[in-house]
């Protein structure tokens, strides 16, 4: 029996492998399991290769998992295209389409001997039972139910619900295909028992969604009433979800003619007094940078979501990467600080998005949410979120005495000036991208520029004191440490648990606030650290470099960085920690030698 299983399935676009993953996750969720599903595609619209990875567990799931427990290949060519995204190990059961003609002892996986390899005539079974090869994915679901005990009834319930709208015949055909899969599994038992322990929380209410939809829902909850944007993979679903709902709350969406107009409209809506947002990916972020500068100098609240993908330029549009940190923190000219936040999962996308709006409104600044393709498109089962525990902050609006001789950019103790909006009597002012005095009137004065830069930069200082924007786990005095953010944080959380179970004294920092760098929080964290790793999916190690720019890092702190679309596995991080520990022990032994 197993408490946790990681499935990886790949096929060509029409095979329905991702929809099989969806059905599996939904069924598992209905049966009370926790789960995560990530999808990965080639960049073709139809056809091409597609894959998904589904992790199902009796405990909350921290990340999509490392090596596969179960690999399903509908054809080898497509499966192999995913490389390190679908890693097969000695512990993996490999199931593949017999019609590929590949003998079980000759599967094209180099340097690995899987636990068990089974060729199944999936297409033939689909054709025989359902009358069409299109039911291949249903056969696969039957195989999974038969061998691993997940989703027997619930899978077919879900599929029936989906297909009933089309025809009852289709439902029956799929039932036959599913039963054939189950029967095949029963008549070909696995060498090891890999069925999943029944979940104790069957029947509990669970949420099931992905990062993009969660982001849009959180924005609605935070009171966002305007979205201006342009379609771009992998962020578009944020606009799609938003435009399905925002009208009901008196808001609007503008699908603009380009990325610049999208953020421009959002800047305009914010000037008009509404909470406002845009969402994009790397190329769009590059285009939006001038407008971000405008929002900074005009002190307008705005939330910008950047769902990172591989870059530069078009890069890897459908794959995840963490290489936009420099762009988020530093793009657009001039001396400016823009807060940058990053969620680590679908669950905390809610909190991160609400926080982004709160920071934007309170400090009157653009805020960037750095999501990534994995979080954006992965589906998670979640426990319900109690929204009543979230505080919503609205911008400070002038009233009473503020409106006598109103000065929009008035110097105040905390550098935050009450902000009016068109329609407000007594609050008229000139907003501008040009430097301005307190009233908003343009100026060329160097001394005013110095003062206004001071105001715009210092107003954000309190953010750096926010301990709640950092998650620190493990022994506070540990000599070993990990630092990771975004989707990589989940891998490191699991690595931390594994390393601790192996007796390593290690701690983990997950920053939700990436910029401005909270120097003191890092200094405190690094105080005990002799060796550590900053783990990130960025070839340039952007996080490590941003930290080094602001801090004197411990000498033993190293970078574990590589390009996107090459996922980190918890096991390799634990191995790296062991290596660091042995280095540490060697250097300690060295110190014991007489020093003459």
């Amino acid at each position: 029996m197993r408490k946790d299983l990681v499935f990886g399935m790949a096929g060509s676009g029409g095979d329905g492998i991702v929809s099989a993953g969806d059905s599996l996750l939904q069924a598992a969720s209905a049966e009370g399991y926790h789960g995560v599903m990530t999808k990965s595609f080639g960049s073709q619209i139809r056809g091409g290769e597609s894959s998904c990875r589904v992790r199902i567990s009796t405990d909350p799931v921290l990340n999509p998992g490392g090596n596969l427990d179960v690999a399903v290949a509908l054809n080898w060519e497509d499966f192999l295209k995913f490389g390190a995204e679908l890693p097969v190990a000695g512990t993996t059961v490999v199931i593949y389409e017999a019609a590929t003609g590949v003998p079980e002892n000759q599967i094209p996986l180099v340097g690995v001997t899987p636990l068990q390899v089974i060729a199944v005539p999936i297409a033939a079974m689909a054709k025989e039972t359902a009358g069409t090869e299109r039911a291949k994915n249903t056969v696969v679901l039957g195989l999974i139910a038969g061998w691993f005990g997940i989703g027997g009834e619930a899978v077919m319930k879900g599929i029936s619900k989906k297909l009933a709208k089309k025809s009852q015949e289709l439902v029956e055909a799929n039932q036959k295909a599913f039963d054939a899969g189950v029967a095949f599994a029963k008549s070909h038992p696995l060498k090891a028992d890999m069925t999943v322990v029944p979940s104790s929380s069957k029947g509990a209410v669970k949420l099931l969604t992905d990062g993009n939809d969660m982001c849009a829902a959180a924005a609605l909850f935070a009171g966002c009433q305007f979205f201006g944007g342009y379609p771009i993979t992998p962020s578009t679903e944020i606009m799609q979800f938003f435009t399905n709902h925002v009208w009901k709350y008196g808001g609007a969406v503008l699908q603009a003619e380009d990325e610049i107009a999208g953020i421009g409209a959002a800047v305009g809506a914010s000037f008009a007094g509404k909470k406002s947002m845009t969402a994009t990916s790397g190329p769009g972020l590059s285009l939006k940078s001038e407008m971000m500068g405008l929002a900074s100098i005009a002190e307008l609240p705005l939330v910008i979501v950047d769902v990172q993908r591989g870059g530069p330029s078009t890069g890897l549009p459908t794959k995840t990467e963490q290489s936009d940190l420099f762009a988020a923190a530093f793009s657009a000219h001039g001396d400016v600080i823009r807060p940058v936040l990053a969620p680590t999962s679908v669950a905390d996308m809610f909190r991160t998005t609400v926080e982004a709006f709160n920071i934007a409104e309170y400090y009157q600044t653009p805020v960037i949410i750095l999501s990534d393709q994995e979080i954006a498109s992965r589906k998670e089962t979640l426990d319900p979120i109690d929204t009543s525990t979230f505080k919503i902050i609205n911008r400070l609006v002038p009233a009473g005495a503020d409106l006598q001789d109103y000065k929009r950019f008035k110097q105040t103790e905390n550098h935050i000036s009450p902000i009016s909006h068109p329609g407000m009597l007594g609050g008229t002012y000139l907003a501008s991208g040009i430097e301005h005095v307190e009233s908003g009137a343009p100026t060329n004065s160097g001394s005013v520029h110095q003062r206004m830069n001071d105001k715009r930069i210092k107003k954000l200082d309190p953010l750096k004191e926010r301990k709640d924007l950092f998650e620190i786990t493990g022994n506070p005095d540990a000599p070993l440490a990990l630092v990771a953010w975004g989707s990589v944080a989940g891998v490191c959380r699991e690595a931390l648990q594994m390393a601790q179970a192996e007796g390593l004294d290690v701690k983990l920092m997950v920053p939700y606030l990436l910029y401005p760098v909270a120097e003191q929080t890092y200094r405190d964290f690094f105080a005990s650290v002799q060796k550590g790793l900053v783990v990130e999916q960025s070839h340039l190690a952007q996080t490590f470099k941003v930290l080094r720019m602001h801090l004197d890092l411990p000498k033993g702190l190293q970078s574990l960085a590589r390009s996107g679309a090459n996922p980190f596995l918890p096991g390799e991080i634990v191995a790296a920690l062991h290596h660091l520990l042995s280095e540490l022990q060697r250097s300690h032994e060295g110190k014991l030698q007489p020093q003459e």
Binding site: A265, G268, F271, G273, P422
Partner: protein, 295 residues
């Protein structure tokens, strides 16, 4: 907020004039344009705090600051997207956008077509002087072919954009031209543009006294100007308007080229309808996550 009802004569032109001193050169055509805007706004009678006036970058884009409205002097070429966001966020506002020919037809040229096809109720005033003035005299998108400037020392090899044909071709519901040669006419045209329910475009031939050519100064403009109403043009006739607009650059036709006699519903009005329809039975925002519950 909903639009304040005012009585005629409640606001005077001076109520829209701010204390800021314009940076424009003495004699610049833009002084007349801002006067025309004061008069038009007074005639329409919306209080200054219900007016949002958005511009890009350039000499003429300084104009919002010289009014008592809510102004936003944004970035080069992007007045229109920002103005649209404002209007969609609060359709009750009277939204004006303004800028120069370079701002509107060069760096920001891609936005006009989309604003026109959306038909959002915004009045867009272009102060067209056929030159980049703020950067001291470079070729602009409306400069005549052959024009020598500091970036075309041997003469321009490019044909100019025809702003009037451009917006007519995309289907703008209101298209007009004005000039400081006739201030009263300009004020009346701007008023009519503001009152038009939908996107309205006014091209103002506004001479640059520092870098402009002799022929484009007031005297030269007067010599080629002709009132559209005086020649009997019917502003409901779009094809006739396009025919006349072809003479941009040779003749200065003043007044309304085209005004849709049956204005279709504006985008902002349709949005309100949609909001009203869909708001019924909406999940309270606090329960938005219920959408993700799987049964």
């Amino acid at each position: 907020m909903s639009a304040t009802m005012t009585t005629p004569g409640e606001f005077q032109a001076k109520d829209y004039k701010s204390d800021l001193k314009p940076i424009w050169c003495p004699g610049c055509g833009d002084y007349s344009v801002v006067q025309g805007i004061y008069r038009a706004l007074a005639a329409v009678g919306r209080p200054p705090h219900e007016v949002a006036f958005i511009s890009g970058i350039g000499c003429s884009s300084r104009i919002p600051g010289y009014t008592t409205a809510y102004g936003f002097n944004t970035v080069h070429g992007r007045a229109l997207p920002i103005a649209q966001g404002i209007k969609l966020a609060n359709p009750d506002l009277l939204v004006l956008a303004a800028g120069g020919d370079g701002d509107g037809f060069s760096i920001g040229g891609g936005h006009i077509a989309h604003l026109i096809r959306r038909n959002i109720d915004i009045t867009y005033i272009v102060m067209d002087n056929q030159i980049y003035g703020l950067t001291k005299g470079q070729l602009s998108p409306t400069s005549q072919k052959g024009r020598t400037t500091c970036t075309s020392p041997y003469g321009s090899l490019e044909n100019p954009v025809n702003p009037l044909l451009y917006v007519l071709a995309y289907g703008a519901g209101f298209v007009a031209q004005a000039s400081p040669t006739d201030l009263a006419g300009m004020a009346a045209t701007l008023e009519e543009a503001i009152r038009y329910p939908g996107f309205a475009f006014v091209n103002v031939q506004s001479p640059c006294v520092t870098y402009g050519e002799e022929a484009q100064q007031i005297k030269g403009l007067k010599a080629i100007s002709e009132s559209l109403s005086a020649i009997g043009h019917d502003p409901a006739d779009r094809l006739a308007a396009m025919d006349l607009a072809q003479h941009y650059g040779e003749k200065l036709h003043l007044g309304v080229f085209y005004k849709n006699p049956e204005p279709p519903p504006t985008y902002d009005a349709l949005i309100r309808e949609r909001q009203a329809q869909l708001s019924q039975g909406a999940l309270p925002k606090e329960r938005i996550l219920d959408l993700f519950i799987k049964k």
